[in-house]
């Protein structure tokens, strides 16, 4: 029993997304598909799942070539997919979600909820998933929602499971638990394709690693024969420096001080709950934590995008609590926002327009109400050069750039002045290794030039690599503080809300 993708080519207008790609997975085998964003992994999986028709090549299951025209065909062939973004109805129960689209019915079309629950209980018991069929999905932690997705796939009798970046939403302990589940599936004879851009995870879980670059499968390796630097090199196509080079920090005066800050989220709950932090000039403070513990609201509040309910924020002693984004920007605060496509950029604007997005109202970019596009273009050309933004021209829409280059546009715009405070939220989410390297080194440069830096990231690796001090946020508060050399395990535990000192006693 094998699943094989043979010679898959997919041509989009102007882009060859997949070029003669070969990939196979057998019964009881975990194959990791590694590649940077834009390498063609998702296109390949969409072909496998019947969403795209390949230009050439075929999908073969048990020696038979299949024509997959829709996800239904893929499901019939025993292929199941667990997407990066869960496809669940939040207000439905686990059982309802699992049977959705394939509901067991009694006479007259009544839903057979007893049978639906039994399906969930059976599968959950068999693989030790520990999921309650009556739980409402939106009440479940993300790790459990993922298990619901797995049950959904298994309920449709999938023999091959494809996981698309499954660990990106999980905490380190949840990742461990997830790997146990995947190994259980493997032991039961399922074939598994694990898509990731995280090298360590591929090394840990996979029996075989297939590496894609620019639409091609460039290598197939045995995890026992390689290490992370080697994998990174295969993925990027050149040797990569995985360690951020930085010297000891030399903290100066307090630049940002936050006292008892309370901020509401969109649902009116205390997302940030009497939180206090300090960031000094010349140090990088990293805020670790599982997403959704108030980091977003904290950053939005600090940058003026969200009003605060209580507490005081001071910038170099100046009270900036609930000041407008522009007022805070004018105090030389650089802000790299969490969602670059929604907030950081206007996607339909050109690179030039995005470069002047926050300075359009000042000379020399404008005089009175008149924009000086000559000046704007000059600045854009200079920054594109200086920050190594790969773009055919400054007049193309920024949406046509890769994620890494989009992020460089933001970093260029924000860092192109004397910055006293950098607030960067998920600064390298979903971008290529080369750009990550570059942006990290720029952040460290800002620190060395004397700026205070606050980094928020759900990628613990990133926090560990950059931070001089690490704060862990849980349910709107800082629950633990570590220095830069703390262990992943301790931080991981703190991310789940347990305080290391409490456990010791």
């Amino acid at each position: 029993m094998t699943l094989e993708l043979r010679g898959i080519t997919k041509q989009f207008p102007g882009v060859l997304a997949n070029d003669d790609v070969n990939l196979s997975a057998s019964e009881g085998e975990i194959v990791a598909l590694l590649g940077e964003n834009g390498a063609g992994k998702t296109t390949l999986m969409n072909i496998l799942y019947g969403l795209y028709t390949p230009t050439a090549g075929e999908v073969i299951v048990d020696g038979k070539a299949l024509v997959l025209e829709s996800p239904a065909d893929a499901i019939d062939a025993g292929i199941g997919m667990v997407h990066q973004h869960f496809m669940l109805v939040p207000v439905f129960t686990v059982a309802e979600n699992v049977v959705l689209g394939d509901e067991p019915t009694k006479r007259m079309g009544w839903l057979d909820s007893r049978r639906a629950k039994k399906t969930v209980t059976d599968i959950s018991g068999r693989y030790g998933l520990d999921v309650d069929p009556d739980a409402i999905v939106e009440d479940l932690p993300v790790g459990f929602q993922q298990r619901v997705e797995i049950i959904k796939v298994l309920a449709r009798e999938a023999r091959f499971l494809v996981f698309d970046e499954p660990t990106s939403v999980l905490t380190p302990p949840e990742v461990e638990r997830f790997f146990e589940i995947v190994n259980g599936l493997k032991a039961d004879g399922k074939g598994i394709i694990f898509i990731s851009h995280k090298l360590g995870e591929a090394l840990e879980i996979a029996d075989r690693i297939v590496i894609m670059r620019r639409g091609k499968t460039v290598a197939e390796v045995n995890p026992r024969d390689v290490d992370e630097p080697k994998l990174a090199e295969l993925m990027v196509g050149r040797p990569v420096d995985l360690v951020v080079n930085r010297t000891e920090s030399d903290p100066g005066d307090v630049v940002l001080s936050v006292n008892d800050l309370t901020v509401l989220d969109d649902r009116g709950r205390n997302a940030v709950d009497r939180l206090s932090i300090e960031v000094r000039a010349g140090e990088i403070v990293g805020i670790a934590g599982v997403q959704g513990n108030g980091q977003t609201e904290l950053v939005e509040s600090l940058t003026g995008m969200r009003p605060s309910l209580g507490g005081v924020v001071r910038l170099k002693g100046l009270d900036v609590t609930s000041k407008s984004p522009r007022a805070i920007h004018n105090l030389d605060v650089a802000h790299v926002p969490e969602d670059r496509q929604k907030s950081g950029l206007v996607l339909q604007f050109t690179v030039t327009e995005n470069i002047v997005l926050d300075s359009y109202h000042q000379a020399p970019i404008s005089r009175g109400v008149r924009m000086d596009w000559g000046q704007a273009t000059d600045r854009a050309l200079r920054l594109v050069e200086e920050y190594d933004v790969r773009t055919p021209s400054t007049e193309v829409k920024v949406s046509t750039l890769s994620g890494g280059n989009q992020q460089k546009v933001i970093v260029a715009r924000e860092f192109d002045r004397d910055v006293t405070l950098v607030i960067a939220s998920q600064p390298t989410r979903g971008i290529d290794v080369g750009s990550i390297e570059y942006i990290h080194s720029r952040i460290v440069e800002e620190r060395d030039a004397g700026a205070a830096v606050l980094i928020v990231s759900s990628e613990l690796d990133e926090i560990m690599a950059l931070s001089d001090r690490i704060l862990v946020m849980y349910e709107g508060r800082v629950v633990a503080e570590f220095d830069g050399s703390a262990s992943t395990t301790d931080i991981g535990l703190a991310m789940l809300g347990s305080r290391p000192d409490e456990e010791a006693s």
Partner: protein
Amino acid sequence: MSDAEMPQEPPAEPGIPEGEPPEDRASSEMYRRVTGIGTSAGRAMVVPALAVLTALIIGAFIIAVTDVDTLSVWGDDPAEAFRLTVSGIFDAYRALLVGSVGSLDAISETLFAAAPMILAGLAVAVGFQAGLFNIGVNGQMHIGGMAALWVGFTFAIPAVFHVPLVIAAAIAGGALWAALAGFLKARTGAHEVITTIMLNFIALFLVDYLLKSSLFQAPGRNDPISQPANPTSVFVTLFSDYRLNIGFIVALLAVAFVWWLMYRTTIGFEFRAVGYSPSGGRYAGMSVAWVYVSVMAVSGALAGIAGANQVVGLEPYRGISNFAGNVGFDAIALALLGRSHPVGVLFAGLLFGGLRAGGREMQGAAGIPIDLVLVLQALIIVMIAAPELVRAIYRVKTPDQEITTVTSTGWGA
């Protein structure tokens, strides 16, 4: 949509990150495709041009099947019936062409009819550019027109001062009326589609009330009709013997002004940034509330001038009930056809003006009801609103950057 061969797959360009686009991007993408904002000029013209062509072809069928006399001939003599049908269609469209561009008078009539349409179309287009759907052009025309009228019959000063003063009054009236909707949106989040429609009704009945009040009503009249504007205040004709007046020049100036405002000023930059991405604009330090209010004010100002054109640009230079007519609603069609670009709106306005002027000739010379013009307009709009339909008919490739997602929530707000 099940046809896997349709050229609609989202291309996995290196630029577009993997994974799905966030939902608001998907819906605004739909909005963008309908309004045409953000597409390059050459590409933006393809669909409108094909839409007009398609409308004319379908219009030909309608002419054929509504010609009852000829239909009865089909049974007896199909060849003769075919000849009659073809010549009927030919006559109708020839009359349409002759009536719109066939003579100096026809051209004058076309431009005369185009002037208020261009102004009103610009009003809607400015809104679209900033992500707002101003359906209230009709109401803003009424208020602007009434302000113009009052200035027109109250003062008696030389035309050089009077006409600009009339236009200024129209701008003020329209801008204030529209800014109200902008203010409500900025302050309370009330959707501008709802508030502007409601303000249309308020304006309509306010006009009726005012026309019967002593402030406006013509002396000795009982019906809602105003005193005439003083001759010094009316839009003078450009050439004797032709109806074309300076309203068209004003419309051309407005096209240039809107282009300059949107693409050459910081104000337009803010309008467009907020229009594409309110959160992006907010992040960049723009006041989204201010943008909503000022966009509506600019939009309403343009509508107000269009309203002035309906009273001081049109004999007998009096205000009557519902003097704005349908122009405020045709304006939405115009902005869509012109892809919300000022130059596009200019051409769309000329086209619709030509249809109006030609429609009268078509009715007179070929006996085709002028309603066919409305049908043609409606067909054009349907084609514009369903660009995939046009592309499928003519097998035009879907532009690379467009993501085909059917999860639109509507107005793109």
